[in-house]
Amino acid sequence: MVSLSGNLLFASFILYLIATVFFAGSIKDKKGKLKEKGPNKWAKIAIFITIIGFISQLGYFITRWIVAGHAPVSNMFEFGTFFALSLVGAFIVLYYMYKTPLLGVFTLPVALLLIAFSSMFSRDISPLIPALQSHWLYIHVTTAALGQAILGMSFAAGLIYLVKAIDQSKPSKRTFWLETIMFGLICTLGFVLVTTTFSLLDYKAEFNWIDKNGQQLKQEYTMPAITGPNEGELLTAGKFEPLVEMPGIINAKKLNTVVWSLLSGTIIYLLFRLIIRKRVGAVLQPVVKNIKLDLVDEIGYRSVLIGFPVFTLGALIFAMIWAQIAWTRFWGWDPKEVWALITFLFYAAFLHLRLSKGWHGEKSAWLAVVGFVIIMFNFVAVNLVIAGLHSYAG
């Protein structure tokens, strides 16, 4: 059953990949016959494949639930894949609301990256510690992830808006920031590639090192150490010696992973620019040529409107109910909680700016991007860097 579950997830990954290609194809096909009403044949195939992929991933979720005896939303891998599942679900709903295949071209890659990224973390089925043994675990985490995924759809819409609206004929602040977003996505890809490569090579290097309290500890690197630990001493023969040594207060191993991701991302990005000789945004621009800006704007806004209440319910209200039961108080200023509050405040500001200050169109699109960065920060950095009660890392 465990392997069935893993295979279903893998199948859904492949299906999303194929669906992306079909969605992209559906755009090209439209060129000549703009007048055509509704999605064309390519788009219909694409959404069909997406739905099959969604069902397959749902199968992964259910089988894993059965095996574990609890909903698989309790660690980095499980949460990330569930997030991707919700994102695809939200996309399917929005697709039928607005009939825009283009949305798939931007959403599915994000879902793919999420699944790939999450799969780099431990995939073991873990038992639940006492604090997590509650039905509120499923209720809270699934609703929160769903809310975040719907909000994430506004990121996809925002991205489409920006790619279309930003003038690519000359470099500007706007093209710079758009490229920065693309670079961020590429670095995620870089992380996945580097991690997979070294894990296939079975790279393992052990270090003795001295932590900030002066204690000697052992640490195992699974990637060649660019940033080595404080007073690190390489124990495994024939492995790469660190280039720079970090002071004790910095987690050199995690920093090393970040450096590798940035490095590989930069290489991929530069190669792309060298070969294509255009910005990533400029390359994508023809893809979005036929979409109406006000429609994308509305899809983005709609996603925030739908997602905000769901997010509030899941990430704040259900979270508070559970915290009251498990930790005796409904709020404790734990970093994860604070970042959920920050997300909430951010989207509240978004709604006010939009409704009362008339921040439509491009401004709104930029805000949607920033919102998603906050959500991702809460998922990645708060779990891995700022450790707290919720941290999956510990």
Partner: protein, 542 residues
């Protein structure tokens, strides 16, 4: 106060921009504009009308959305700052916070501490921020909701042409056999759940007006929530105590006026077993080592019976047995008891034998309850041991005197007086773990350590929170409000006959795409032309 009478006869409050009833533009400055600002129906808002006194100025400050958004953004950034390093409540109690931050994070940590960020969320300025948001919520809502309510109530079906012309969605169309199309349009509008009002052959189709109250409802929810949070500072509303109870021990529950007692029968700690538990977990358990499965205190709750007589133990009546687990607190009369922590194997009893050093002969055993030692233990035949002093958590202080750090028997030490038939005065001996000191020279007798008993201790949080219901109520109202404002929109379609033409205007508070699609569907094959989005027309021109 001055009122403005519109040509249509309706009397509007001073400051009104668009007549509440017919929509005629009343303010000169607005007449120039190509589209009217429909946000609050052009109603007279206090903040837009008065700006003389201090009250006006404060009111205008807090009712501005710009200010509101700034407050939200500043709060957001401040909250983020508080997560850079752990807050004081989460740092281990190994050293004072003043040193901890510098020790762990260097000069940045020191700066963090000096700026007070280690207690950010209870700092005065953070609370001022939250309070300002609260004030802003009240004022901005009052500023808008009353005029908006008036305007929506007073609106008439027939709107002035200038009003229709300046709507974002607007179109004029000439149409033959209008009556037939009219019926069709009305049918379709009804099918789409529009409320239809008619007057002189003009139509106002409206739906989802209640969604306009969504923001105000959710703001009220937030205010209730904040008030609930403030109530916590009222004495008696909020209780947060920790109770350590040893197995077998019965303790009064704090803050219950001595009415309730808790007995800890047993503390249980379970860990996952690789072989016995779900096989799927085995790899994770192997990797992580030990994973806790259950923390549980089996307790009995007692209630005091009658009055306590001074010096006598209270008479207790059993209320119930309950296994307190994480996520399963014991609740009674507004109190909740939570399993929060534990200590395994705390020393509870120590056993010694009194023996002769030379002959190794033993004269009996003394079992001392470390939490309640007796003064004297008689061993019979003239043998006895007196406990002269007891140090449950012993150490030597700076002057070399034995002292105790706490009442918890972490490191017990005793001064014994050993009384034997031949030493009736008794010999004095100081006994601690792994050491014996004989302060008055060599003794003949000795207390030989022979064993310990241990017990587990449960840490139970005693919680009473009378603010919860208000906070939950605020949350509920908030959710109703956001759902109301987000999942419905207020849409209006005006249809007016002007001579041989049909004028159609549409307005929605959000989701224009949806409105346009709806109008398109309603007008299909009626011969009436679809109105245009004037905003988009402008954009396309650019």
């Amino acid at each position: 106060m001055k009122h403005v009478k519109c040509e249509c006869g309706h009397v509007n409050p001073h400051g009104t921009i668009l007549c509440e009833a017919c929509g005629r533009v009343l303010q000169e400055s607005e007449k120039e504009k190509q589209l009217v600002d429909m946000r609050y129906e052009g109603s007279a808002r206090r903040s837009q009308t008065y700006n003389k006194t201090i009250v006006d100025k404060v009111w205008n400050f807090f009712s501005s959305v710009k200010v509101g958004v700034w407050l939200i953004v500043i709060t957001l950034i401040a909250s983020a700052l508080g997560t850079i390093f752990p807050q004081e409540m989460y740092i281990p109690p190994i050293m004072p916070a003043a040193e901890y931050y510098e020790d762990q994070y260097g000069w940045i940590g020191k700066l963090y501490y000096d700026l007070g960020f280690h207690n950010l969320y209870s700092s005065w300025w953070y609370l001022v921020l939250i309070a300002s948001i609260g004030i802003s919520l009240v004022i901005c809502s009052l500023d808008r909701v009353i005029p908006l309510w008036r305007a929506l109530k007073a609106q008439r079906v027939s709107r002035h042409e200038g009003f229709l012309k300046r709507q974002r969605v607007f179109g004029v169309s000439e149409a033959s056999n209008l009556d037939e199309s009219y019926e069709k349009v009305k049918e379709r509008l009804k099918a789409k759940r529009y409320n239809i009002r008619e007057e002189d052959g003009n139509i106002l189709a409206e739906k989802g007006r209640f969604s306009r109250w969504g923001p105000y409802v959710n703001h009220i929810g937030l205010i209730i929530f904040l008030i609930g949070g403030m109530l916590r500072f009222v004495p008696g509303m909020y209780i947060d105590e920790v109770l350590w109870v040893r197995e077998g021990e019965t303790k009064v529950i704090p803050e219950t006026d001595g009415q309730y007692y808790l007995k800890n029968n047993k503390f249980i700690l379970e860990v996952y077993d690789k072989d016995k538990d779900n096989q799927a977990f085995s790899e994770a358990i192997e990797e992580k080592g030990m994973v806790a499965k259950n923390y549980q205190s089996n307790v009995t709750l007692y209630k005091k019976k009658g009055e306590t007589v001074a010096g006598q133990p209270p008479e207790l009546e059993k209320v119930k047995d309950y296994p307190i687990k994480v996520n399963e607190p014991l609740k009674f009369e507004g109190y909740a008891l939570y399993q929060v922590s534990y200590k395994l194997d705390e020393l509870s009893k120590m056993t010694f034998t009194l023996g002769n050093k030379k002959s190794n002969e033993s004269f009996g055993e003394v079992k001392i309850d470390l939490n309640d030692p007796k003064d004297r233990y008689d061993l019979g035949n003239g043998y006895a041991v007196e406990v002269v002093s007891y140090f449950p958590d012993f150490e030597f202080d700076d002057s070399g005197e034995p002292v105790t750090k706490s009442k918890v028997p972490n490191n017990p030490a005793f001064v014994f007086k050993m009384i034997t038939p031949d030493k009736k005065e008794g010999e004095i001996s100081f006994v601690a773990i792994q050491q014996t000191i004989e302060p008055f020279g060599d003794n003949e007798y000795k207390m030989n350590f022979s064993g310990i008993d241990t017990k587990n201790v449960s840490s139970i949080t005693v919680r009473k929170d009378l603010t919860l219901w208000l906070i939950a109520f605020g949350g509920l109202i908030f959710m109703i409000g956001v759902a109301q404002g987000s999942y419905w929109n207020h849409r209006r379609i005006w249809i007016r006959r002007v001579n041989d033409e049909v004028w159609i205007a549409g307005h929605t508070n959000k989701n224009w795409h949806g409105l346009k699609r709806e109008i398109q569907a309603v007008l299909e094959d009626t011969g009436i032309k679809e109105p245009e989005d004037q905003m988009q027309k402008e954009e396309n021109k650019e």
